[in-house]
């Protein structure tokens, strides 16, 4: 299953905060697709995945897919 999270127009750290708050609402193994156009998200969403030990499935322009691992 996948949940979409529209963070377009939000500046960091808001997209990362929304991602962190959405994580517990999905099952382990499910994905969250984050739409974020703040340039800082390109660094901060992958950094959040690394720091919180979640999987960054893909990072395309303004679109990030994150899988819940724990």
């Amino acid at each position: 299953m996948n949940v979409d999270l529209d963070c377009r127009g939000l500046l960091c750290p808001l997209p990362v905060i929304k991602l962190a708050k959405t994580l517990p609402t999905v099952a382990i193994g499910d994905t969250i697709t984050v739409l974020a156009d703040d340039p800082a998200a390109a660094t901060d969403i992958p950094a959040w995945c690394r720091m919180r030990s979640q999987e960054l499935v893909s990072a395309d322009e303004n679109q990030y897919v994150v899988r819940r691992l724990s």
Partner: protein
């Protein structure tokens, strides 16, 4: 020092009257002291109006002199913006690792391509403190001139060897704003890329600020006389802040090389924290810190240094210690920071 220099060094040093010759003498003295401090001959040292103008003048003058070879500037992704702006569209950017250290293999490959006018790498990073392996990079350069931006190091750390052009900025060692150093190693060809006058061999046009040059020289002398002691103190204090920030705050990323670094700089990022909020809260506690977070920059883009390293850019704090920093400051900073981070996180429900 600055005030007496304003009284005696106000005249134009290229004029032949008494006051002009006095100013010339003072300028020569300042240049001799500055050259000695960074280990070059006075003839090879030009004084510019800032570290940024030193980089622009040095980079463009070497590139113009090597136009028959090519126009390409090879530089690391974490250089000062003056290098990024001067490199132009044909520049080749070499990536860095998570500590901010340039990829030596990629650099060696890039610098050996045809058409490279020069390479530019900083001695150490101005935001995260990580030193660059200048002697290995210089070796990789071969005949290609290497410009080393030493603004973050001079006065705080040893000046590396192997460069063709070296730049620095007086305000970074406690001197006045408006004085930059541009050292050009003998044998390096330069062609200033703008209309030349008789000043500084054409590398820094216009009436020089003699009193500020003298103040810069005096400040560097003073700084170097206590550099060994400050180095020891600052290294220990930064180690302590690094340890306490990581231990007392959850979800924090302390960045930069913990060992091979400048003595006085530390950078860390706190997850879910707004950069502007943490800078403002620390200011209210009497701490003047910098931040590489996007919300604290005029461009609303995060620090290109943090982005190139791939580390968290929001909630970013950079501290740099000065000669008047005390252990009490360090201890109080470490004591108030966890509460500030907790409060800012609570405001957004984290």
């Amino acid at each position: 020092m600055l005030l007496s220099a304003v009284d005696s060094g106000w005249a134009d040093p290229v004029r032949l009257h008494h006051e002009g010759r006095t100013a010339r003498l003072l300028l020569d003295n300042a240049r001799a002291v500055l050259a000695d401090a960074i280990g070059v001959r006075p003839d090879d040292l030009y004084l510019t109006t800032s570290g940024t103008t030193a980089i622009r003048a040095g980079l463009t003058a070497v590139r113009a002199a090597r136009s028959r070879v090519g126009q390409t500037v090879v530089h690391s992704a974490v250089e000062h913006s003056a290098v990024l702006h001067s490199g132009g569209e044909s520049a080749v950017e070499v990536g860095v690792d998570m500590q901010g250290r340039v990829d030596l293999e990629a650099f060696s490959t890039a610098v050996r391509q045809p058409g490279v006018a020069l390479a530019a790498v900083q001695s150490a990073n101005h935001e995260v403190g990580t030193r660059q392996p200048i002697s290995a990079l210089a070796e990789a350069c071969g005949d290609v001139p290497l410009l080393v931006d030493a603004a973050a190091s001079v006065g705080h750390d040893a000046v590396p060897a192997g460069w063709s052009v070296l730049t620095a900025s007086a305000h970074k060692w406690g001197g006045p704003a408006g004085v930059g150093l541009l050292a050009v190693r003998k044998g390096t060809r330069i062609t200033p890329a703008w209309p030349m006058d008789e000043r500084e061999d054409g590398l820094s046009p216009g009436f020089p600020n003699v009193p500020n040059a003298l103040a810069a020289a005096a400040a560097l002398q003073a700084r170097l006389s206590e550099a060994a002691e400050l180095d020891k103190q600052h290294r220990a204090w930064i180690d302590e802040v690094r340890r306490r920030v990581a231990a007392d705050i959850s979800d924090v990323e302390v960045v930069g090389d913990p060992e091979d670094r400048l003595p006085h700089i530390l950078t860390f990022s706190c997850l879910y924290v707004d950069g502007e909020a943490i800078v403002t809260a620390l200011d209210a506690e009497g701490f003047a810190v910098s931040s590489g977070s996007a919300c604290t920059s005029s461009t609303l883009r995060p620090s290109h240094v943090l982005a190139a390293m791939g580390v968290l850019t929001h909630g970013n704090v950079r501290i740099s210690l000065g000669r008047s920093t005390t252990y009490a400051d360090i201890d109080r900073f470490c004591a108030v920071l966890p509460g500030i981070v907790q409060r800012i996180r609570a405001e957004v429900g984290m």
